[in-house]
Symmetry: C2
Subunit: 316 residues, 2 copies
């Protein structure tokens, strides 16, 4: 079972490879939230999102035979780029299954890192089935977006750095798609300080983890309609759900309007480019009525990959 | 005469007041420039630009009588906000003379910090005359945008931090409006390491400092037409010119198209919001044919205050 020590090992593996992203603060943000907010800028990570951490930590642990046969991944975007970049650095052939309607910038970037991209129709085909078939044909290793201990441990290194830079923290708030980032955050944070409140953030339309926690079992929802294309997951995995259940204080949801407002706040006040999913934790502390008064709160801005035209529409 | 020791003293004064902004790196940028580039993010400074450093360093040195009678400043934008915020923190009344066509975000932010804003017509009126009259009426102290030793020393603290984080550097590249940031950068850099090449960047249409260096005397040009509204100065001061002449390797110019491309690069690759002036040093290393191969180069991104609609136009 993945644990705090795996996050520490991942941090060793990522040293000098991933960016140690900055933690920034803003008086304006602190005044609005009435708390001390420490902003971990994973939008400034290599390939523009935290996903590189998990992907590299997974691929670095392939054996020689596995490396030569390559990897396959499926993703709505940032996991694709993370795997593609990690594969390029480790000289592993990569094939990425991506939805035809993924942001153009994410498709181009994935191909730019040298990966082969296989497109599918989000509404008609099952990406997991396509990826499985490719793996069988090629003897390749599947790199799932979140249901993997090494992916989770790699993702947890962001929170480890956040705490190294800003401890003590009363709470950490992070977005939840399939739960890889958030479960890694849970392991890292409670490995260092068992008293930290851990809050996950989901889009209101895609609250599969909240429903799963409420019902005590994994709930699968329809593909949610939300501008947060990185958080359009239909369910957590048993692994991420079990970690989240053990560690999290709760799940907060945010609307698409709140995500848009948070992106605008980041543009105007933080001068940071965020994609909608990347703004989830910021939206939560600004607009979701969380009880954070006077607390020291870490938030993870998970990514900044968004098409220029789409961004222009969203902020203006 | 302002010197390295004044930059050090300014850094003491700014400790815990100004942000120590992050220095970030990007493999993509390094590959494009074929150098090791260290990016000092003054767009992440309080009020969104380096200008807060100089303004606070100036206002913190007012005596009790001067504080009570207040300050007056004129500015096309960021200096206005810098003085307004420093005045608010130090409880000094501030009046800012701003052009009627300044970006709406800058007018709103200046008023938001509690300053009185007096508008003028850029083409018809002389802002220096208006500011002088206000000073006489009120017994207030004029805070010039760059022709002031304490403003220069404060601005130099950005380069001081950059070198503390990224030394040794072979070169530093910084934008030049009236020369406050660049002359402060010169003092800070050569105070630590006399071998560093120092390059200023001007918009092609507004190369008053380059012309002044070429002719050996202060040249005054017409208000330049450029998208870099923060660099629309008509001349350096004798003070900034003398410092620049003593320390700088040279001045590089960039076109408006290059500024726009650099803003887009920062959006797509660095996930940083830059205003046109703030992108000048990035434009220079990316597009101006500087001979930087394999060097360690520090660049200062000076600010990120830009209206959302204007930004949307520029990046899409």
């Amino acid at each position: 079972m993945v644990a705090f020590e795996d996050v520490r090992s991942a941090a060793q593996r990522l040293r000098g490879v991933a960016h140690r992203t900055p933690v920034v603060t803003s008086r304006t943000l602190d005044e609005r939230v009435e708390a001390h907010v420490f902003v971990k800028c994973e939008n400034l990570q290599r390939m523009g999102a935290f996903k590189f951490r998990g992907a590299y930590n997974r691929l670095a642990q392939l054996n020689a035979g596995e490396r030569s046969r390559g990897v396959v991944a499926y993703s709505s975007g940032n996991h694709a780029q993370g795997v593609a970049l990690a594969a390029q650095l480790l000289q592993v052939p990569a094939t990425i299954v991506m939805p035809r309607d993924a942001p153009e910038s994410k498709l181009a970037a994935t191909r730019g890192y040298g990966a082969e991209v296989v497109l599918y129709e989000r509404s008609e085909e099952n990406r997991a089935v396509i990826a499985q078939r490719l793996c069988e044909e090629r003897g390749a290793t599947l790199v799932p977006p979140y249901d993997d201990e090494r992916i989770i441990a790699g993702a947890g290194t962001a929170a480890l750095e956040l705490l190294q830079d800003a401890a003590p923290l009363d709470a950490i708030v992070a977005p939840v798609g399939g739960g890889g980032l958030f479960s890694g955050t849970c392991l890292a944070a409670h490995g260092l300080d068992a008293g930290i409140e851990l809050w996950g953030v989901e889009p209101e339309a895609g609250d599969d983890v909240r429903q799963s926690l409420d019902r005590g079992e994994r709930v699968v929802i329809d593909v949610p309609r939300t501008i947060a294309d990185g958080l359009q997951t239909q369910s957590p995995s048993d692994l991420t759900l079990s970690i989240i259940r053990r560690h999290a204080r709760g799940i907060v949801t945010v609307t698409d309007d709140q995500l848009r407002d948070a992106m605008r706040f980041a543009f105007e006040r933080l001068k940071l480019v965020l994609e909608p999913s990347g703004a989830a934790a910021l939206a939560a502390v600004l607009y979701a009525g969380m009880a954070l008064a006077d607390k020291r709160v870490g938030i993870i801005l998970s990514g900044g990959n968004v098409d220029p035209r789409r961004y222009a529409e969203l902020i203006s």
